[in-house]
Amino acid sequence: MRFLVKKLVSFIATIFIVSLLIFFIFNILPGSPAQAILGVDADEQQVKLLEEELGLNEPLHLRYIHWIIGIAQGDLGVSYKYGQPVAEVLKDRIPISFSLAVIALILTVVIGIPLGILIAKTDGKWSSIILSMITQLGISTPSFWLGFILIMVFAVKFGLFPTYGFIPWSENLGEALKSVFLPSLAIAVGNIAIVIRYLKNSILDQTKEDYVRTAIVKGLGANEIMYNHVLRNALLPVLTVLGLITADTLGGSIIIENVFALPGLGSLLVTSIESRDFPLIQSLILIISLIIILANFTVDLLYKVIDPRIRV
């Protein structure tokens, strides 16, 4: 139980610190949100009134506590711009960002892991130089630029995919998948490169271990040794990277949604910054952060499932 408790405490502590940080960045820094909403010409009386209405005249710590309690109850505040509860604004957008991130992660794992194994198996001098260049290139390419290239090639030139926009899953499964495939791929490419790199190095490290020699002496073939022994050990460090990749996928989706004009959380974040809609920005950033912290927590738990050495 000790492992679980430790991870849970760290999970809650991280949420607390991150929420505190977000709150203070938005509330301590100069500039009144009321002023920002009403514009510079608004008179003082109006600003005061709005501040009262928004609860901005309360002491800081109370505002933080109210914010957190509100979030726990599903009340994320009211968007200045839309004049609706934030939760209402987010409702339709969450599935879009969620599908984007999930498909990107699936692509990362489904393409990255087999390629990593293949490259580790064919580790020669020249092939490994060329492959390390390609992975470097994948890591160095901005995902949104890659998005443009994918649109130009697969959507405009070959017409295989829509150039922009989202088709809801409820409308047409195939078309919906098509509409999120290219943006997901654009996010995934860099992460695939990272997975390949880590997995390849990890496999090559593992093949030097003694237990591999034991497996050879048992008379096992190369594939049996790879899939029954090496791979599971080699995936452990990759799992840690997968936590980082999840964070990166969500970060990447913010930009990619704007490239493909997908009405998800990322494009909402950008428009709400343009309109200085602070309750919305604050809640959005917190929600995205929470998802990432939750993903990292899940990775920690997965570790436990894969590695029996971690004591419960």
Binding site: A13, T14, I17, V18, L21, I22, I25, F26, L29, G31, K125, S128, I129, S132, M133, Q136, L137, I139, S140, T141, P142, F144, W145, F148, I149, I151, M152, V156, A247, D248, L250, G251, G252, I254, I255, N258, V259, L269, V270, I273, E274, R276, I281, I285, I288, S289, I292, I293, N296
Partner: protein, 268 residues
């Protein structure tokens, strides 16, 4: 040649070429980077306009040269901000250890859970857009990374005998830090800076693309990409070439950083 040194070599060459380009752009660009002439808008690459022209008829090559200034400026200054504060926080945590270290690192790790670009967007939304604020946001984004590197450097070096002995001899903290610890973690800082540089360039181009980063009239590659987006079909070279420069610069610093790290590991 060793595979590792090839990485270092290519990285160094790429960075040097782009750095030279940046220097050249201070003295010379083929055309004025902001010279508009709608009559020659969206021309394909030719001998007169090697990378073509944009929607206002501005020479893309000149604008890319001009944009390299922003890229290097943002990279270097944000590293300086991140390094300074990262040094203070990481140094305090590493030097004192114990509960101070625990609390500081807990906070740093929590911040690291948020993806860099989201953190930068958050800061920019409060600070407002523009070159200075972008630099500030990216600098703050980098503090946790540097704090971690410097803290672990301090932890390692603190255990070295010569540091312990000079402490016994009564050398002051400042003296120990500047004479013994700094030179020893210098190579780690260089590697971290190189790799952070490419991260900062990526983040800046992303922010500027979203319209949350560098604003006109300051030139920026990311900003150019957002302008180019509308002309994706009739002027694909605009998006293509601009993006390739971002890739080359990021690739250069990534390879340089990896090469330097391998070099350092080999030496130890």
């Amino acid at each position: 040649m060793q595979r590792k040194s090839i990485t270092l070599y290519i990285g160094a060459v790429l960075v040097s070429i782009l750095f030279l380009m940046m220097i050249v752009s201070f003295f010379w660009t083929p055309y004025g980077p902001n010279e508009m002439n709608t009559k020659i808008a969206l021309q394909a690459p030719s001998w007169t306009y090697p990378f073509g022209t944009d929607n206002f008829g501005r020479d893309i090559f000149s604008r890319i040269l001009e944009g390299s200034k922003t890229a290097f400026l943002v990279g270097i200054t944000s590293i300086m901000i991140a390094l300074t504060f990262g040094f203070i926080i990481g140094g305090i945590a590493g030097y004192f250890g114990g509960i101070v270290d625990e609390v500081l690192m807990r906070i740093i790790d929590s911040i690291l859970a948020i993806p860099g670009i989201l953190f930068a967007i958050m800061l920019v939304s409060v600070f407002n857009t523009g070159m200075q604020n972008t630099i500030l946001a990216l600098g703050i984004m980098g503090i946790p990374t540097f704090a971690r590197v410097i803290r672990s450097g301090f932890m390692q070096v603190k255990e070295f005998d010569f540091v312990k002995s000079s402490k016994v001899k009564g050398a002051g903290s400042f003296r120990i830090i500047f004479k013994h610890i700094l030179p020893n973690i210098f190579s780690q800082i260089i590697v971290a800076s190189t790799l952070f540089f490419s991260g900062a360039i990526l983040a800046e181009s992303g922010l500027s693309y979203l319209g949350l980063g560098v604003q006109p009239p300051d030139p920026s590659w990311g900003r150019m990409l957002s302008e180019a987006q509308a002309y994706m079909t009739n002027a694909p070279w605009y998006i293509g070439i601009t993006g390739i420069f971002i890739v080359l610069l990021v690739l250069g610093f990534n390879m340089l950083g990896d090469g330097l790290r391998d070099l350092k590991e080999k030496r130890n």
